[in-house]
């Protein structure tokens, strides 16, 4: 990295509140403020630490569900399942998302971070909350699993830790909004914010609803665990809790779609096909995506069909339409960029000759495909009231959200990390060949976990259940043998995903600590190069309006065929179980 310059902050004629220090990235030309850079670093490091912890717990869960191994006893299983959920669904994801918010605002807009002291306070609260939650769970009195439904009661420390973490995350979101205002006021950009920043804004808006829902339900639950409140209504808890529990995963969707656009721009110089269309798709998320929380309550008797159908079958489908628009425009933007880069032969030269050895690209594209085919289609099936009864509260549900959060979000975040390490930490990737294979291995593992858990769930295996063979049940029951095959395959693919996860953590940590230096007076090129127009494509407004996308149209046609086929296969399956005479 080259120049360091200082900018005075404040309105003309007034004393500046503080002096922000910037450096200019020699690879992108982007102006990076020191506080924003430091906060991106610490949040990214914390994210990877909690991914490592949570991933280890996840492997233990999968090895216990694999009946030939059945690693853990019941008490340890529920403890480890709780720790797995908290560490990966909340801590890994949200630490990384805060880093994404700071990157998409301060770095892409070339602005200083608003209120960096508040941002540090938020980070400290998040770390304290995450550590306290792990302590509370590992102590053994909070094995209530991620959903923590009453009347199961955890230690007060567990609820307090989640509240602390949520407050810290809310502070981070507020700093993001503040940074947007600072950038506008100081005119670091003209017109509209870039699409990647708009995607991050979408994630931040959903985060506000998510954290507010969490506060509404976790504060009375904390008081209940302390003995100040006598009772928490289970259905009321489920309703409000899922406003946090499911919406937190919608933050992920918005963030990883923003990352898809960012990686396409930075690696290939891809611009959106249409800024207007992509922004409208994000608007669909802002308005409707949180309502998908209702699909967890489709089997609850206390809520009317009107509430269920309006929230899922009507409103959720509008958010699904947003996802399908991104499913067209992201590969479409990549195809358009590749054709502009000279790969014009046939329908798929752009895809065959894409930079598959670059882990940022391969991770992003695998994330895109698996999120759509596995997580997306299964989400629509789960969100349909009638079909939901086929697999409600079975292992199909974790299968679905491993398709969205692991194969989709986690893989996209891993891909982005391969850009964050050289551009923000100023260290090159230490072991490039390992980095090339890592997204493929992790993607195969994550895809397998999702598919086989959904398979086991379709055969009736319950989620959150240690004793799949019902050895302790007073009435004998046996699942079909295929269910145990699915659980075994789930275990094998969990091992593959774990190997991919370990490769990621080891390579990233080693690169940060002892990777080749890129800063200062270094002139070393990047191992995985960026596109010449990376910064312009990622940080400015503008479309590459074209419809000459034969490869993308074929891929989208394939997706629709799979979608329609799977959707109607489930209706056929339902009609065989649910006979009307």
């Amino acid at each position: 990295m080259t120049a360091i310059d200082a900018g005075a902050i404040g309105v003309a004629g007034e004393a500046p509140a503080r002096v922000a220090k910037y450096r200019t990235c020699r690879f992108t030309g982007l102006r990076i403020e020191a506080q924003a850079e430091a906060l991106i670093k610490v949040n990214a490091v914390a994210a990877v630490v909690f991914l490592a912890i949570g991933g280890l717990f996840g492997l233990l869960v999968a090895l216990t569900r694999w009946q030939a191994v059945h690693l853990l006893g019941a008490e340890w299983f529920y403890l480890v399942l709780t720790a797995h959920g908290a560490n990966v669904l909340l801590f890994w994801i949200i630490f990384f998302e805060i880093a994404v918010l700071y990157f998409a605002s301060a770095v892409l807009l070339g602005a200083r971070l608003a209120a960096p002291r508040m941002a540090w306070l938020g980070f400290v609260l998040m770390v304290a909350g995450a550590l306290m939650a792990n302590y509370a769970v590992l102590e053994g009195n909070s094995s209530v699993m991620f959903t923590s439904y009453p009347p199961m009661m955890a230690s007060p420390w567990f609820y307090l830790s989640l509240i602390l973490f949520a407050v810290g995350a809310l502070v981070g979101v507020a700093v993001f909004f503040g940074t947007l205002m600072v950038a506008r006021q100081e005119k670091t950009y003209d017109g509209s914010i870039p699409l990647v920043t708009f995607g991050a804004l979408t994630a931040a808006i959903i985060a506000v609803f998510t954290i507010a829902s969490g506060a509404i339900i976790l504060i009375p639950t904390l008081l209940w665990s302390l003995g100040f409140v006598s009772n928490i209504d289970s259905l009321m808890y489920k309703l409000v809790w899922w406003g946090m529990g499911h919406s937190s995963q919608q933050i992920n969707v918005s963030a990883h779609v923003a990352i898809w656009y960012a990686i396409g721009a930075m690696v290939l110089g891809a611009r959106p096909l249409s800024e207007k269309v992509s922004r409208m798709a994000f608007l669909m998320y802002i308005l409707f995506l949180q309502l998908a929380s209702a699909h967890h309550l489709l089997a609850e008797p206390g809520l009317s069909s009107q509430w269920k159908i309006v929230n899922t079958s009507y409103m959720m489908y509008l958010a699904v339409m947003g996802s399908m628009i991104h499913g067209l425009t992201v590969p479409g933007a990549i195809e358009a960029a590749q054709r502009r880069n000279g790969f014009t032969r046939g329908a798929f030269e752009w895809l065959r000759k894409a930079p598959w050895c670059n882990p940022a690209f391969s991770g992003m594209f695998l994330s895109l495909v698996m999120f759509g085919f596995i997580g997306g289609i299964s989400g629509v099936v789960l969100g349909t009231e009638q079909l939901n009864v086929l697999m409600h509260n079975t292992l199909y549900v974790p299968g679905h959200f491993h398709g969205t959060v692991v194969a989709g979000t986690t893989l996209a975040f891993m891909a982005m990390t391969y850009l964050v390490v050289p551009l923000i930490f100023q260290r090159d990737i230490l072991w490039p060949r390992m980095a090339t294979w890592q997204p493929v291995l992790f993607g195969i593992g994550a895809g397998g976990i999702s598919m086989f858990m959904m398979g086991a769930g379709t055969l009736g295996v319950a989620r959150r259940h240690w004793d799949t063979t019902f050895t302790d049940a007073p009435h004998a029951f046996e699942h079909a043998p295929g269910a145990f095959l699915m659980l075994g395959l789930n275990g094998i693919f969990a091992v593959i995903a774990a190997i991919g996860g370990i490769m990621f953590v080891v390579n990233v940590v080693a690169s940060i600590l002892v990777g080749p230096k890129l800063g200062g007076a270094q002139t070393r090129p990047l191992t995985f190069p960026l596109h010449q127009q990376a910064a312009e494509a990622a940080s400015t407004y503008g479309s590459h309006a074209t419809v000459k996308l034969p490869g993308t149209i074929i891929l989208v046609g394939l997706f629709f065929s799979a979608f329609v086929l799977y959707y109607f296969v489930n209706w056929k399956y339902l009609s065989e179980l649910w006979l009307f005479r």
């Binding site: 909004f177 947007l180 950009y189 003209d190 017109g191 509209s192 914010i193 708009f198 804004l201 979408t202 808006i205 959903i206 506000v208 609803f209 507010a212 829902s213 509404i216 209504d233 259905l235 009321m236 309703l239 409000v240 406003g243 919406s247 110089g269 611009r271 249409s274 800024e275 207007k276 922004r279 608007l283 802002i286 308005l287 409707f288 949180q290 309502l291 929380s293 209702a294 309550l297 206390g302 809520l303 009317s304 509430w307 309006v310 929230n311 409103m315 127009q533 312009e536 494509a537 400015t540 407004y541 503008g542 479309s543 590459h544 309006a545 074209t546």
Partner: protein
């Protein structure tokens, strides 16, 4: 940067006319925040809470 329409090139354009209403909406983070919090609060939370509290208590 050009923000009034799609361009076939990556070169930024100057805005030639008034900004369309929809773009003004999309350029207003706090309006979007208001919409993104209000809609799920009304349709999912408030409506859901009203349904639950209207379930009669068992004798």
């Amino acid at each position: 940067m050009a923000n009034d329409g799609d361009t076939a090139s990556s070169t930024p354009e100057a805005a030639p006319g008034p900004i369309p209403v929809m773009q003004q909406v999309l350029d207003s983070p706090f309006l979007l925040l208001f919409l993104g919090v209000t809609l799920p609060t009304v349709l999912y939370l408030i409506w859901g809470v009203m349904e639950i509290i209207s379930v009669p208590l068992a004798d």
